[in-house]
């Protein structure tokens, strides 16, 4: 099994077969987690650099764990201020690191296209761990894996992405992946946080949270950042919660089975109430567990190593 691309820059243009391969591999790999020693030697001798130019806790830890469980050698480079400010360009940073003979780079960066840019600076395999407001493919893959575990398949299912879609790379990748897999997608949030042109991609747009809840089989609730309020995109967190917050009353009113997801970290009481986040409908912690499995699958598949070895 191999993927049709040598990097994972996003889910744009990634065929359904590739997504299926990654999710199948991840499910296979997940069985390792229950072993007494949850570690395989698949990536022994492979060096992976985690290049994080933006603050990140869970994605970085998830990748690091994935790499360690595959026995890869890992190095972390974190810099909240971009290296441009230190007088070194991204290109130089990457070329310097690549000169130390590394195999794979996991990059998180505030600029859209940064992962793509790296493919032009180095021969190493690039995995995008989030570039600006563009894509965050492993997040969407873990979301799809978690939904598939619940549903058996994604085709024909309805997923509503709620909140700050405009600034969300999680939404960017989820929309692409879900549509490729035959699911239907709706986005719902204040008009100020919905980017233009989404209908052209085949995405439903709603500004009414109850409509979205009524429509969807699953809600993927995005994190709302206070800084959006400061930019005048919505008046207050209070009003955001009143208009778009996912509350138990709203869920109950829909009178149906609904899956609740969140890429984390949750602002409890803003976009998602605690009693919903911690309810049986929530698969938020499964997402986190699956995140490691999906990232292991991506690392293995892109490394060119035999993926059967990692679960066998």
């Amino acid at each position: 099994m191999a993927l049709s691309s040598s990097h994972l820059l996003g889910l744009e243009g990634v065929p359904a077969d590739d997504i299926r391969t990654i999710l199948d591999t991840a499910e296979n790999i997940k069985t390792i987690f229950d072993r007494p020693i949850p570690k395989v030697p698949t990536l022994r001798g492979i060096t992976v650099v985690n290049l994080f130019f933006e603050a990140s806790t869970r994605t970085r830890i998830s990748f690091e764990l994935a790499e360690k469980r595959l026995s890869a050698d890992t190095v972390n480079f974190s810099s909240s201020t971009s290296s441009v400010k230190k007088g070194e360009t991204l290109k130089d940073t990457v070329r310097n690191i690549a000169a130390m003979k590394i195999n794979m780079i996991v990059i998180r960066h505030s600029a859209a296209g940064a992962a793509y840019f790296l493919t032009q600076c180095t021969d190493a395999t690039i995995i995008n761990a989030g570039d600006g407001q563009h894509e965050h493919p492993t997040q969407a893959l873990l979301d799809m894996m978690t939904l598939r575990e619940k549903w058996g398949q994604l085709a024909g299912k309805k997923v509503a992405i709620i909140g700050d879609v405009m600034h969300s790379r999680v939404a960017g990748s989820n929309i692409r992946g879900l549509l490729t897999m035959g699911a239907e997608v709706m986005v719902c949030g204040p008009k100020t946080l919905i980017p233009p042109g989404l209908h052209e991609f085949g995405v439903n747009v709603s500004y009414d949270i109850d409509e979205a809840i009524g429509w969807a089989d699953a809600l993927n609730v995005l994190r709302i950042q206070l800084e959006r309020q400061e930019k005048g995109l919505f008046p207050t967190l209070r009003e955001y919660h009143a208009e778009f917050g996912i509350t138990r009353e709203r869920i109950e009113r829909a009178k149906k089975e609904l899956i609740i997801m969140h890429p984390g970290p949750i602002n409890r009481g803003v976009e998602l109430d605690s009693d919903v986040a911690d309810s049986d409908a929530s698969i938020i912690l499964d997402q986190v567990t699956n995140g490691v499995a999906v990232r292991m699958a991506v690392l293995v598949l892109l490394s060119g190593m035999d993926s059967n070895e990692s679960s066998g």
Binding site: S110, P196, G197
Partner: protein, 437 residues
């Protein structure tokens, strides 16, 4: 680059293109001491001097690009007046107006004189545009009278708009005392803030913050109202949005002092071309959509657009070879302006060759109150000689600019330039391999 004195030279076999009638007439031209000595049928055999066989080429008054960034003083690593002039010559231009966003800005007579002094030995005439406000800070207007007297041909804070409407009003009023053109970079910065490309489906797709059309059209509207209020002459730089074309059209119908220019890149590319995050397609205003191009083309056809200008904006490789958000706005354009206009506008029948060229020969000089070169006996020879049909492959490595930030490498363009004549010299530059020689 071959440069020789325009003295005792026979330009043989070319056609002089009459810009008003559009007629091409075969005529040999003899140049003596930088002047046009004779026009007509001249026997090559008996001519005692250098003969340039320019058969198939047309001869027109020297082209002018009224919107270039020469970067000197301040960023000589990107371009100098000398390298900018070399690029201008290669592109077939004998005159440029250079924008004042230098360091220091062209906002005092000393800097105007510096630019003119640096350019005095160039074949290309360099006309400085001075800043509207001191230091291009948008706060206080510059000493416009003195700037005009020292050689500034227009005013602009290009790169930035003049945000304060009242300052812009007074600038227009003040500049109108000297009949000087005020050129505005139209951008509502509160609306474009943080944007790196056109806002629309593509910006959503690429996750790059967008700049909506309205950021430009709101500002154009304001400037048009100020032209009405003050009676001043406002020129809209690098018009890129369909709404702007309509605004300028209406302003002209009302007889207001409003003119505008369009760049070749806004006619050639759309935001969909940013799919590979190419920073050499990042400029301000950003690449728009097919709809905007269609409106610009309509505007060109219907006489709304006065001028074609390149907005030649050199940046170093180091500056451009970065992630998209971090890259500066702007691309090269002097060497490809003529070719792209021939390809997009003339070959496609939007304008006649003469009408298209007039927007790079007559219109900019009229707007800037500069004399228009004549092709007539006894006149100073200021000529552009090019082959309108002969194509060439643009080779960025051979660019005369100091920078390499152009998306045109390897592109086949019509209008191979034979050479330019001005200020007593004839200069020939080959930008790339000729295709149908």
């Amino acid at each position: 680059m071959l440069k020789e004195k325009a003295d005792n030279i026979l330009l043989a076999g070319g056609d002089i293109l009459n810009l008003s009638s559009g007629k091409r007439e075969k005529a040999d031209i003899v140049l003596m001491k930088g002047k046009i000595d004779r026009i007509g049928e001249i026997d090559r055999g008996s001519f005692r001097g250098v003969v340039h066989d320019i058969s198939g080429n047309i001869v027109v008054p020297g082209l002018m690009d009224m919107h270039v960034h020469l970067r000197e003083p301040g960023r000589e690593d990107k371009e100098t007046i000398a390298t900018g002039c070399a690029a201008a010559m290669a592109g077939g231009f004998t005159a440029v107006a250079c924008m004042p966003n230098t360091t220091p800005a062209i906002d005092t007579q000393e800097v105007v004189r510096f630019v003119k002094k640096k350019a005095e030995d160039e074949l290309v005439a360099v006309y400085p545009v001075a800043a509207i406000t001191k230091g291009r800070q948008g706060k206080e207007i510059t000493e416009m009278a003195e700037l005009v007297r020292s050689g500034a041909v227009a005013f602009s804070d290009d790169g930035n708009p003049v945000v304060d409407t009242s300052i812009m009003r007074h600038a227009l009023e003040y500049a109108s005392m000297y009949d000087a053109l005020t050129i505005d970079h139209c951008e509502d910065c509160s609306l474009s803030h943080g944007g790196h490309m056109n806002e629309g489906t593509m910006s959503t797709k690429l996750g790059i913050p967008g700049i909506p059309n309205a950021a430009e059209s709101i500002h154009i509207s304001r400037d048009i109202e100020l032209a009405r209020l003050t009676g001043g002459r406002i020129h809209i730089a690098h018009l890129s949005v369909k709404e702007g074309v309509e605004l300028v059209r209406r302003a002209k119908q009302e007889g207001l002092g409003v003119s505008c220019e369009v760049t070749p890149h806004h006619l050639l590319f759309t935001d969909a071309d940013l799919i590979s995050f190419d920073t050499n397609l990042k400029m301000n205003p950003p690449l728009r959509t097919e709809e905007d191009i269609a409106a610009l083309e309509r505007g060109i056809k219907e006489g709304v657009i006065d001028v074609f200008a390149s907005d030649h904006a050199p940046h170093t490789i180091e500056d451009k070879e970065v992630e998209f958000d971090a890259a500066p706005f702007g691309i090269l354009g002097l060497e490809t302006l003529l070719g792209i206009i021939l390809q997009q506008i003339v070959k496609r029948g939007l304008l006649t060759l003469a009408a298209a060229l007039a927007k790079m020969i007559v219109a900019p000089r009229e707007l800037l109150n500069l004399p228009i070169p004549l092709i007539a006996q006894g006149e100073i020879a200021n000529l552009t000689i090019f082959h309108p049909d002969k194509t060439f492959i643009y080779d960025l490595c051979k660019s005369k600019s100091k920078s390499r930030n152009a998306p045109y490498d390897g592109m086949e363009l019509p209008g191979q330039v034979y050479g330019v004549v001005n200020r007593g010299f004839i200069c020939r530059t080959a930008l790339g391999a000729a295709v149908n020689d």
